[in-house]
Symmetry: none
Subunit: 156 residues, 2 copies
Amino acid sequence: MRLSDTIEAFIKEMLREDQQEVEIKRNELAEYFHCAPSQINYVLSTRFTPDHGYVTSSQRGGGGYIRIVQVRRSAEDQLAYLLNERIGASIDFTAAQILCRQLAESGAVSPEDAYLMASAVSPAAFSVPVPEAVKNALRAKVLRSMLLAIAQRRDG
Amino acid sequence: MRLSDTIEAFIKEMLREDQQEVEIKRNELAEYFHCAPSQINYVLSTRFTPDHGYVTSSQRGGGGYIRIVQVRRSAEDQLAYLLNERIGASIDFTAAQILCRQLAESGAVSPEDAYLMASAVSPAAFSVPVPEAVKNALRAKVLRSMLLAIAQRRDG
DNA sequence: ATCCTTTCTGTCTTTCTTTGACCTTGGAGA
DNA sequence: TCTCCAAGGTCAAAGAAAGACAGAAAGGAT
C-alpha cells in the first residue's frame, strides 16, 4: 500500500472519531510516518480538496497546525452545487471522477451510479479524435445531463 | 507452449482462487516470467478484453497495479452481444434509447440506470458543434463504457 | 520460400509518488 | 521594535510504476 494511502486512511480515521474536524501537526505526522513533511501536503492536496469534500486551513510559526474540516452537504445541496457552480462549461475526467466519488461518499448517489457516471465520461468513452477542449465541454454536458436525471428521480 | 498462454493460464488460475478479481504488479509478473513488462500488456489486450469477459483497470506511479475483473458467465454473453451487435461502432440516440428501455424491461439493469444511460447520450448531453457521425460514434463508446461498468459490478 | 499473423522486445511517454532544498509566516523574547 | 526560531508552504527533481507503439522474431499456411 502506498504511503499516501496510509496517511489518507489515518486522517480519515481521525475524522471519523473526532466529529468531522481534526487538527494535525505537519511535522509530527511526518515523523510518525517517517516521511518528508511535504508528503503531508501532497496527501492533502490530492485527497482532501474541496472537491473531495474537505476544507483545510493552517497556521504557521510556533504552535502551528493544519486543520481539516469535512464539509457535510445534503444530497440536494450537493447536486445543486455541482449543477450550478462546480460543473461549468467544461470539466476534465479527473475532476469528474473526483466529484462522482464524492457524491458516492456523501451518500448522494449509490456507489454504483457514481461509477457508472464516471465511466460515461472516462477517457475510454471519449476516445475519438476531437480536441480535448471539445471533449471536456461534452463531459460537462453529459455529466450535467445525468445529474439532472438523478435529481429528477429524487424529487419524483 | 507460448509464453502468452502460460501467463494467461497463470492469471486465470489466480482468478479462480481469488474469486474472479485479482490485482497484479506488471513488473513483478514480467520478472517472474523473465519477459518484457509490455508482454503483460500484450496478454491482457489479447486475452482479457471485455469481449473475453474481463474488464481491467490500472494505476500508474509508485505502488501501481493492474486489476483484472472477471465478468459473470451469463452476463458475459449478453455483454458481448450488446457490445458487438447492438451498439457497434456507432449508435444514434433513438436506437440507444430503445436499447436502454429493453435492458430495463428485461431486468438486465435497473430502470434508474437505464434512464441514466439514456440521459448520458441524449441530444441535450450532446449539444456541441461536432458532426452527427462523430456524436454517434461517441454515443457508442459512452454506452459501451457504461455497460462495462455495470458488468464489472461484483456478483450481480 | 513467401506471406501473413501472432508473439515478443525495446524504447519512449505519461502518470503518480516521494524527497529535498528553499521560502514565508507568526510568535516569543531580548 | 527587532531578531530568531519554529512551524507550515512551494516547487522542482528524482523515483516508481504502467501505457503506447513500432519493429523484430517466430509460426503457420500455401
